[in-house]
């Protein structure tokens, strides 16, 4: 297993809940040590009586408003990630405690998340469109397909691990993983373990068994399914049932942007990137590959002998294009792949910067025995920007003329566009270029509140920007999900 896998596993895990009797024990000890003092009683003053009366009237008005017939839902202009473009309150009082994995359905008509139920101490439940489903010891956040279909995993003390699809329970397996819908949301794939062996299920059809099954990936057109699985000591990719070349380990499975070719990192002593049938150069470790949108370039971080660097180039011809650093992030590309950028941590000093690489057509003149011949050569030149205590992963606009990122020291974060520091907040993340490739939208935080900034527009401040911002296709709006207190809202911000 490589470092990225470990970090992913750490991210996806949480401590098991404490025993339920511990809560009672600690509460009893607290009550014994700090007995509750009776609150002093006194007669209410007139202003307090008036305030209570006004509160009751407001409560009656609120209940009447909540019980009114719901207006027909407007057709959401669902965009990327299902974020709807509509202003509406989704919930007034969230039915649970700590929430994880909030997600919209691809058509933007449904939403769901996993909730830890405070009242039930160790119980969790999935909430779909505001309705709490059955409680379990643990649940994973739901995954949506088309037409409101959703699935999630749950742990039940009696039945073990369950896979639940729209309330219907799939039993009889020891574990599930890699649950995913095809891009059109019509087909479902997952891995399940029974008697210690793993099986892949695609459209309900079983394949396997495998000793391990790490990943299941749909092609962008949803016609093909690739698995990473092991039998004995060998790992291989399995595409539509056909096994590929065996390796010691396989990770970071990807389809190229056109969906025709599979790419992955293979370990055989050292590691290398495989794109189709072409193997890249060997390194001690190789990071996840990233492709430009046109598929003409691929890049990844790599390390050898304790130093990390960037590797970029046409698939199969990628080469080292940067100096060595202590740490290197994954590169991101302009649409044509000729500009790339990534986060780097400088050697020996606690400073980070954004490294921007550009392909330049160099012209050379060669002199041989007094005879000059000129030739051209495409070269990638990388230049680090200003150093900061920390920088975020960068974003590159489609034509490669702008690179943006958040940078700063401690809780002070600047939005850096090109080489200029612009806005300052305590939090800046989820940076995204609009369709014009110039305007930027991002989530910002200040004084304990959060807001969305898009172009010159700013949203109201709320307790939390849950999802988004997401740009509309015409670039005139951004949409996001916001929480204020226990209220959830779908919000739209006009972009100036």
């Amino acid at each position: 297993m490589n470092v990225e896998k470990v970090e992913s596993l750490l991210d996806r895990s949480r401590p098991a809940p404490p025993p339920s009797d511990l809560r009672r024990r600690i509460f009893e000890a607290a009550d014994r040590k700090f007995p509750a003092a009776p609150l002093p009683s006194r007669k209410p003053r007139l202003v307090e009586v008036m305030t209570v009366a006004a509160s009751l009237l407001m409560l009656i008005a609120t209940v009447s408003w909540l019980l009114r017939e719901a207006p027909p839902a407007s057709s959401p202009g669902a965009q990327e990630a299902g974020q709807p473009f509509e202003d509406r309150k989704m919930m007034s009082q969230f039915p649970g405690g700590e929430v994880s994995g909030f997600t919209w359905s691809p058509d933007g008509k449904h939403w769901g998340c996993a909730v830890k139920l405070v009242e039930g101490d160790t119980r969790m439940a999935v909430v779909i469109d505001g309705k709490k489903e059955k409680e379990y010891i643990a649940v994973s956040p739901p995954v949506f397909g088309a037409d409101g279909v959703y699935v999630y995993g749950a742990q039940d003390p009696a039945d073990g691990m369950l896979l639940i699809q729209n309330g219907v329970v799939q039993k009889g397996f020891e574990a599930f993983q890699a649950v995913s819908f095809s891009p059109d949301g019509r087909r479902l794939a997952y891995a399940a373990r029974k008697d210690g062996l793993w099986f892949a299920f695609v459209d309900g059809k079983r394949s396997g068994p495998y000793d391990s099954l790490d990943d299941i990936l749909w092609s962008p057109d949803g016609t093909r399914v690739a698995l990473v699985a092991s039998l004995g000591a060998d790992w291989c990719c399995v595409v539509d049932g056909k096994k590929g070349e065996p390796f010691d380990y396989i990770s970071h499975l990807r389809f190229t942007p056109d969906g025709k070719t599979l790419a992955y990192v293979a370990r055989e002593g050292s590691e290398h990137l495989v794109v189709g049938t072409t193997a890249g150069q060997d390194y001690d470790a190789v990071g996840p590959p990233a492709f430009s949108a046109d598929g003409s370039r691929v890049g990844h971080r790599a390390s050898s002998q304790g130093e990390s660097f960037v590797v970029v180039g046409p698939p199969g011809k990628q080469a080292k294009v940067s100096d060595a650093y202590d740490e290197v992030g994954s590169p991101v590309f302009s649409r044509d792949g000729k500009v790339w950028a990534c986060r780097v941590r400088e050697k020996g000093v606690p400073k980070e910067a954004i490294l921007v690489g550009r392909e330049i057509l160099m012209q050379y003149v060669k002199r041989v025995e007094g005879k000059e011949t000129s030739f051209e050569q495409l070269e990638s030149h990388a230049q680090p920007g200003e150093s900061f205590e920390s920088v975020s992963d960068p974003v590159v606009n489609p034509d490669g003329t702008l690179v943006a990122y958040a940078a700063g020291k401690g809780s002070r974060k600047y939005l850096v566009v090109g080489s200029e520091r612009t806005l300052k907040f305590s939090l800046i993340d989820r940076i995204a270029f609009g369709p014009d490739g110039r305007k930027l939208a991002f989530r910002a935080g200040q004084y304990g509140k959060q807001l969305v900034v898009a172009g010159d527009s700013r949203s109201d401040e709320v307790d939390e920007i849950v999802t988004g911002p997401v740009w509309s296709k015409d670039g005139r709006k951004v949409a996001f999900t916001a929480r204020t207190g226990a209220e959830l809202w779908s919000r739209v911000l006009e972009v100036k």
Partner: protein, 180 residues
């Protein structure tokens, strides 16, 4: 995502402590639910004994409740809880020779599907780390602390914390690689 959405109140930790002091006993429940899982995991990973970890967690919360919340204006309650718990665990370690009896378990968090076997392996591998590396990973991953906060808590430089974390993750990769 949406991690701060909680029932009961949107009160800060210090606000909850003040409410508890004013007689609202449920405020402590909200605070307990916020941190008990990760604190217990931390304590268990420090002392290697589930029962002892539970006792330390109880002592930790009682000590917090004994403090005047008004005096915590510039402190993070979460960091304070970890600091109290760490000191308690270290005191316990000085009082007697602790032997590993058990290690704390992990559960799936935000994955689609539940990878039980993987998380069991991760729990075991975490316990195979040197104590100072394990402490850094546990505080970072399950205590949601920044490297700076961890450095302040354990009294070493941020660079040291970062390198410990990096070595820990690499060691975990090796340990889990052998199990793959």
């Amino acid at each position: 995502m949406l991690a701060s959405l909680r029932t009961g109140s949107g009160l800060s930790d210090k606000g909850l402590l003040l409410r508890w002091r004013q007689g609202d006993r449920s405020a402590f429940g909200v605070l307990y639910d916020r941190y008990a899982s990760s604190l217990l995991f931390f304590a268990h990973s420090q002392v290697g004994d589930a029962a002892l970890a539970e006792d330390l967690l109880q002592d930790c919360f009682l000590r917090l409740l004994d403090l005047d919340p008004e005096q915590l204006l510039h402190d993070s309650v979460r960091n304070l809880l970890y600091s109290i718990l760490r000191n308690l665990a270290r005191d316990e370690g000085r009082r007697r020779i602790t032997r590993l009896k058990s290690y704390p378990l992990l559960a799936p968090s935000t994955v689609a599907g539940a990878e039980v076997g993987r998380f069991d392996d991760l729990s075991l591998a975490l316990h195979a780390l040197p104590p100072e590396q394990r402490e850094t990973v546990v505080l970072k991953s399950y205590g949601d602390m920044t490297f700076g906060e961890i450095a302040q808590l354990i009294g070493v430089s941020e660079a040291t914390v970062k390198s410990r974390h990096r070595y820990a993750v690499e060691k975990l990769a090796d340990l889990l690689g052998e199990k793959s």
